[in-house]
């Protein structure tokens, strides 16, 4: 938004800042001096303020990264230190599969059986719904979604849009704020602040989507190339966190994961 409106004062506020009473009050005080509040939640805080509220959806899209999940150490009820995990890696870790064997679980056959190839339609619908719920019309959604879809992989992970995606989204908001439709064609380049963590589009999934994939992870500015390296990294993280096999659970469990991966292991 700063790139679109360079002369305006734009203050970013973390959503979690208003998690407690003190934070909420501070935010209300901030909003009292603001003309516009662009927010994905806590709309009630602006109830008695003259600030104009622009509701925006979160951009979540799992079709490029269906294997990615959050996970927790079950016994401690805490998230893993590195928040992003592979569903397959978790299963392999819990079943004490050697990383060199676990590599073989990452293939087109497994992905197909796990439904990784069939995520596009449902995710596009879900995203459209979240736009609707925030008062964006389907025309506005299409203006955004079709523009980013043309560019290929428009997400770094399930909930981290690329900088170009964020720019397209901000253009929609700008139009809502009265900008001319011509802004859609304006070339706006911003630094990508989310490239510290990039989950790869696996090649087999890329192939299904007509896109080029790879097995290169970027986690905390560290680049991990290749499946076995990633699995070594993930196992090491879990062990360092004192997680024992079977104590690691995905926050987004896949019901038939166990049977699919067991079958796959037996094939070899």
């Amino acid at each position: 938004m700063r790139a679109i409106y360079p002369g305006k004062v734009i203050v970013p506020i973390r959503a979690s800042a208003a998690n407690d009473k003190k934070g909420s009050n501070a935010l209300i005080a901030e909003l009292a001096n603001a003309a516009i509040w662009i927010t994905g939640g806590r709309f009630e805080l602006a109830q008695n303020l003259p600030v104009k509220v622009i509701k925006v959806p979160s951009i979540n899209f799992h079709a490029f990264h269906p294997d990615l999940c959050y996970a927790e150490k079950k016994s401690a009820n805490t998230l893993t230190k590195v928040h992003y995990n592979s569903q397959i890696a978790i299963w392999a870790f819990n079943n004490q599969i050697d990383t060199s064997d676990a590599v073989r679980l990452f293939n087109g056959s497994t992905f197909k059986a796990l439904g990784y190839f069939d995520q596009w339609g449902a995710n596009a619908e879900r995203l459209k719904l979240s736009f609707r719920q925030n008062d964006f019309s389907d025309i506005e959604f299409n203006q955004f979604f079709l523009a980013v879809k043309r560019r290929g992989v428009f997400m770094h992970s399930v909930n981290h849009p690329s900088a170009e995606t964020i720019v397209e989204f901000c253009k929609l908001i700008a139009i809502r704020l009265g900008a001319d439709q011509g802004i859609v064609k304006r070339k706006i380049i911003i630094p990508d602040s989310l490239i510290g963590t990039i989950w790869p589009l696996y090649p087999e999934i890329g192939q299904e989507l007509g896109l080029v994939g790879n097995y290169v992870w970027r986690i905390g500015n560290q680049e991990i190339e290749g499946l076995e390296s990633y699995l070594d990294f993930a196992y090491q993280q879990y062990l360092e966190q004192g997680i024992q096999p079977s104590d690691l659970v995905s926050k987004w469990p896949i019901p038939h994961l166990d049977s699919v991966l067991n079958t796959e292991l037996k094939k070899r």
Binding site: N107, G108, W120, Q207, L209, V212, K267
Partner: protein
């Protein structure tokens, strides 16, 4: 209230069929028929047909190869000599007229006058100039190999359950004497170009339609059970001899071939058009299906074509077998290795001549 479009399926509508799906999910295949695991499947056509041939050969299909390497020839040497690239060693057949003449030569209906070229000290088969990388040492050796080759071609026509023909070009070089079509201009990979003997030809849509009809009728006359699958190569022309831009010539050429395939599919029940051309050139691919030279097709594009082919033409059981083989390596493995394109010889010849 109803209208004529209200009961049509999703694939009739641009938004549902093109705009909305992921690029790799676009599926323009509407007409298809299952190829049984036991069916003999042959391939011929332009160099894009080699992608189909290569993938069919390693899939669950019964890839019908009639011309096999002689005993003792190792695999690398056999590949160099173009064994297994197509069902027989005919090399690339770019124009439909070439395919018709191949049939006629195999069945003894056409004996072109100029059929052997010299290149330095060796002999070149004018109808498959790249088939022997070092040429033939003698005329006799060439003729013997050709006779064996044409017998294999005959078997393809007589025994194939499916023949996949990929239409590549409309531009060709022709003998003025008897109309023989050469895959490469005389002088490029052998022989000598002479204006009195050779002429350039660019087949019109109507001429391609007539040739394709002739081809289908001839193939069916010797093998009534044959099914013919037509595709159009999405690979643009490497050069045009017409006095116009190569992209304009490409558009005209591909349009003529596409129209011909459409016309012939409407006439014959046993002819199906498979839209690999549309998959590769679709605006949804956003140029990801062409390499940086804007001409060669990328692996990911070929993979899209093959996925749609397997999905619609392969039996379910065979697809399951392919799924078993879907490993990381099989995806990353380059499909572009070993694709032989005669037209590239034009570029090489021009460079060698110092241009």
């Amino acid at each position: 209230m109803t209208n004529p479009y209200s009961t049509l399926q999703d694939y009739h509508f641009w938004f549902k069929a093109m705009t909305a799906p992921a690029p790799g999910h676009i599926d323009p295949v509407v007409k298809y028929k299952t190829i049984k695991a036991t069916d003999k499947v042959s391939t011929m056509g332009s160099c894009f047909a080699q992608h189909l041939a290569k993938n069919i050969a390693k899939s669950g299909f019964n890839y019908f190869v009639t011309e096999n390497p002689p005993p003792g020839l190792d695999n690398a040497e056999a590949t160099k000599k173009n064994y297994g690239i197509f069902s027989a060693r005919y090399g690339n057949l770019y124009t439909v007229k070439q395919a018709v003449q191949l049939f006629d030569r195999a069945f003894g209906l056409f004996k072109p006058d100029e059929n052997i070229w010299r290149k330095d000290s060796v002999y070149i088969d004018a109808f498959r100039p790249q088939i022997e990388p070092n040429g033939f040492e003698s005329k006799e050796q060439l003729l013997e190999d050709r006779a064996k080759h044409l017998a294999c071609v005959k078997t393809i026509f007589e025994e194939s359950d499916w023949l996949i023909l990929t239409l590549g070009l409309t531009e060709a070089w022709r003998s003025k004497k008897d109309g023989a079509i050469y895959p490469l201009a005389p002088g490029v990979a052998g022989g000598l170009f002479a204006e009195k003997d050779h002429e350039f030809v660019n087949f019109t849509a109507n001429e391609v339609i007539a040739d394709l009809k002739d081809f289908v009728q001839k193939a069916t006359s010797v093998n009534p059970k044959i099914n013919i699958l037509l595709t159009v190569s999405p690979v643009p022309l490497i050069a045009t001899y017409e006095n116009r831009h190569v992209w304009v010539s490409t558009t005209v050429s591909k349009a003529a071939l596409r129209v011909a395939a459409d016309e012939i599919e409407k006439i014959f029940d046993h002819v199906i058009y498979f839209p690999s051309y549309e998959i590769i050139t679709s605006p949804a691919s956003a140029d990801r299906y062409f390499q940086d030279d804007l001409r060669q097709v990328t692996d990911i594009g070929v993979n899209h074509v093959m996925r749609m082919f397997f999905k619609h033409f392969m039996q379910e059981e065979a697809i399951k077998e392919i799924d078993k083989e879907l490993s990381i390596n099989s995806v990353i493995e380059s499909n572009l290795d070993g694709i032989v394109c005669d037209e590239e010889e034009i570029e090489r010849a021009i460079k060698q001549a110092g241009f």
